[in-house]
C-alpha cells in the first residue's frame, strides 16, 4: 500500500521545473518509478506529490549525432537493450542494459531515473563513465551540461538544483581502436561489484585505458591513478602490471561493508574483474572477438 499523494502531469520541461520550484522537497519527479515506488512503499521516502514526466515529449527518444548517442531521460533500459542503433554503435551499452535487474524492471525503468536516483548498486552509471558521458540539465532559467562524473555526488545524491531536471544523456562514441567492457558480479538481486574498462590499443601497444568502478562504494567513479598505470605501455608490461593495478583499483574503489559483502571482499573482486575486463577489452580493441562484452562476471 502506498500512502496517498497528489499527481502532476506536466507536458513540458518548463512546467515540470515550475512545479519543482513551487513544491520544493514535498514533490518528486516520477518516471519509471522502479526505485522510487519501492522506497515509498517501504516508508523510506515520503512525498505529497509526484510529478509524472513521461508525458513530456522532449524527454523521449534516442538519436545518433556525429557519433554520439543522445538518450532522452525517459528512455527505458529495454529500449536501449533492443534499439538497433544502440546495438550497432554502442554494443556494450546494449549488453549492459540487457542485464539490468529483470525484464519487467527494464521495460519500465528509465536511464534518467536510474542516474538521478543514484542508488549505488546500479550498472549504467559505471559503464557510462568510461564513455565520458555527460548529462543535459534544464530548469526554467536555462540549460547546462555536466560531466556524469560530476553529477554523482553521493549515495542517492546528484548534482541537480532543486528545480532542475535531467533531460538527456549524451554518450560520445569511443575513439578508434577502442573497446569497452562492463563486468559485474553479485549474489543478490542488485550487483555487488561493477567494473567498466575501455581500452584503446593496437596489437602489443596499449595507448589509453579508462576504468570506472561502481556498486562497491558510495558512487561510481573513475580510477585515474590506475588508468595512468596501465596506459602508454606495451601489452607485456601492462599484463605484468595488472596484479598491482588490480590491488590498487581495489583500494581506490572506496568499498564499504554491507549486505553485499565485506569491503575487503569487494576490493578483491574489483581487482579480479579489472584484470578480466582489461583482457577482454584489449582483445576486442585489437580486433579479435572476445565474445559478449558486458556479460556478468559471475557467470565465468
Amino acid at each position: 500500500m502506498l500512502p496517498p499523494f497528489a499527481l502532476e502531469e506536466p507536458t513540458s520541461v518548463h512546467e515540470a521545473s515550475a512545479l519543482l520550484a513551487r513544491y520544493g522537497e514535498t514533490a518528486r519527479l516520477y518516471a519509471g518509478g522502479t526505485e522510487l515506488l519501492l522506497a515509498m512503499k517501504e516508508g523510506l521516502l515520503h512525498y505529497e506529490r509526484l510529478i509524472n514526466i513521461k508525458l513530456i515529449p522532449e524527454l523521449a527518444g534516442i538519436a545518433l549525432t556525429d557519433g554520439a548517442l543522445h538518450v532522452g531521460a525517459i528512455t527505458t533500459h529495454r529500449t536501449l537493450e533492443r534499439a538497433a542503433m544502440v546495438r550497432a554503435h554502442f554494443p556494450t551499452m546494449a549488453e549492459m542494459a540487457a542485464h539490468v535487474a529483470n525484464v519487467r524492471v527494464r521495460e519500465v525503468g528509465t536511464l534518467g531515473g536510474n542516474l538521478c536516483f543514484a542508488e549505488p548498486h546500479a550498472d549504467p552509471g559505471t559503464l557510462l563513465l568510461v564513455y565520458d558521458a555527460s548529462v543535459a540539465l534544464a530548469r526554467q532559467g536555462g540549460t547546462r551540461t555536466l560531466a556524469l562524473e560530476q553529477f554523482f555526488v553521493g549515495p542517492f545524491e546528484v548534482g541537480l538544483a532543486d528545480d532542475e531536471i535531467l533531460t538527456a544523456i549524451r554518450v560520445p562514441g569511443l575513439p578508434a581502436h577502442t573497446a569497452a567492457v562492463y563486468l559485474k558480479y553479485g549474489l543478490l538481486e542488485r550487483p555487488s561489484v561493477g567494473v567498466a574498462v575501455a581500452v584503446t590499443a593496437l596489437p602489443n601497444q596499449v595507448q589509453e585505458v579508462r576504468i570506472a568502478v561502481g556498486c562497491v562504494g558510495p558512487t561510481p567513479h573513475r580510477l585515474r591513478d590506475v588508468e595512468s598505470l596501465l596506459s602508454q605501455k606495451e601489452i607485456a608490461e601492462v599484463r605484468a602490471t595488472l596484479d598491482t593495478a588490480g590491488a590498487l583499483a581495489g583500494s581506490a574503489a572506496d568499498a564499504v561493508t554491507d549486505l553485499h559483502g565485506s569491503a575487503e571482499y569487494k576490493a578483491y573482486l574489483v581487482g579480479v574483474l579489472l584484470r578480466r575486463a582489461f583482457e577482454q577489452a584489449y582483445q576486442q580493441a585489437i580486433g579479435s572477438d572476445a565474445g559478449d562484452a558486458a556479460r556478468g562476471g559471475g557467470t565465468a
Partner: protein, 178 residues
C-alpha cells in the same frame, strides 16, 4: 516551449478517471493516484489470478502484460494502465480452450504449487510474442526474473520450449497473431 496539451493535476484523495481494457473488456474506473496496478486488478476488478508475493518486483508472481509488455503489477501505479490494454492470466484461454503455453505447462509439469505460474506463463507469452523461436539460453535470460520455489525450473524451461515449437507449427504464414 509551447504546450499542446494542458498540464493535468490530481489532488491528494481526488479520483482519477481512467479507461483500461482488461482481457478485452473496457473498464472505466475512478482511482486514486497512489493505487497500484495489482490493487486495481485484484481488489477492484476481482481478478485474483495475479499473485502478490515479494511486492518488490523481484519474484515475478504479479507479472501482467501491459500493451503486451511484461510489468510487475505490485510496483506500478494503476493510472499507468490508462488507455492501455492489460492481459492477466484470466484472459489467456479462449473459453474452455487453454492457450498452448498453458497446455505445455500442464503436460510437462511446469508447475507444482502453482503460485508463480500465472506470472511464469504471462512472461513466457511476452517472450514468445517477441521472439517466437528462442534458444534455451534466451529463455533462461528472459525468465530470470520469475522465481519458482518448487520446480527447479527445468520443467518450466521445457514447457516454454515445447510451447514455442507448437506455436510455431500452428502459426500458418500470414496467420493472425493472437
Amino acid at each position: 516551449m509551447t504546450d499542446d496539451r494542458a498540464h493535468h493535476s490530481t489532488a491528494t484523495g481526488q479520483g482519477l478517471s481512467i479507461r483500461v481494457t482488461v482481457n478485452g473488456h473496457a473498464h472505466d474506473v475512478l482511482i486514486e493516484p497512489c493505487l497500484t496496478l495489482i490493487e486495481l486488478i485484484r481488489d477492484r476488478l476481482g481478478l485474483t489470478g495475479t499473485k502478490k508475493s515479494c511486492d518488490m518486483q523481484v519474484c515475478g508472481a504479479c507479472t501482467v502484460l501491459l500493451n503486451g509488455r511484461p510489468v510487475s503489477a505490485c510496483t506500478m501505479l494503476a493510472f499507468e494502465a490508462r488507455n492501455a490494454s492489460l492481459l492477466t492470466i484470466e484472459g489467456l484461454a479462449q473459453g474452455e480452450t487453454l492457450h498452448p503455453i498453458q497446455e505445455a505447462f500442464i503436460e510437462h509439469g511446469g508447475l507444482q504449487c502453482g503460485f508463480c505460474t500465472p506470472g511464469m506463463i504471462l512472461a513466457a507469452k511476452a517472450l514468445l510474442d517477441e521472439n517466437p523461436a528462442p534458444t534455451e539460453e534466451e529463455v533462461k535470460h528472459y525468465m530470470r526474473g520469475n522465481l519458482c520455489r518448487c520446480t527447479g525450473y527445468k520443467r518450466i524451461l521445457e514447457s516454454i520450449l515445447v510451447a514455442a515449437g507448437r506455436l510455431a507449427q500452428t502459426h500458418n504464414p500470414g496467420a493472425l497473431e493472437a
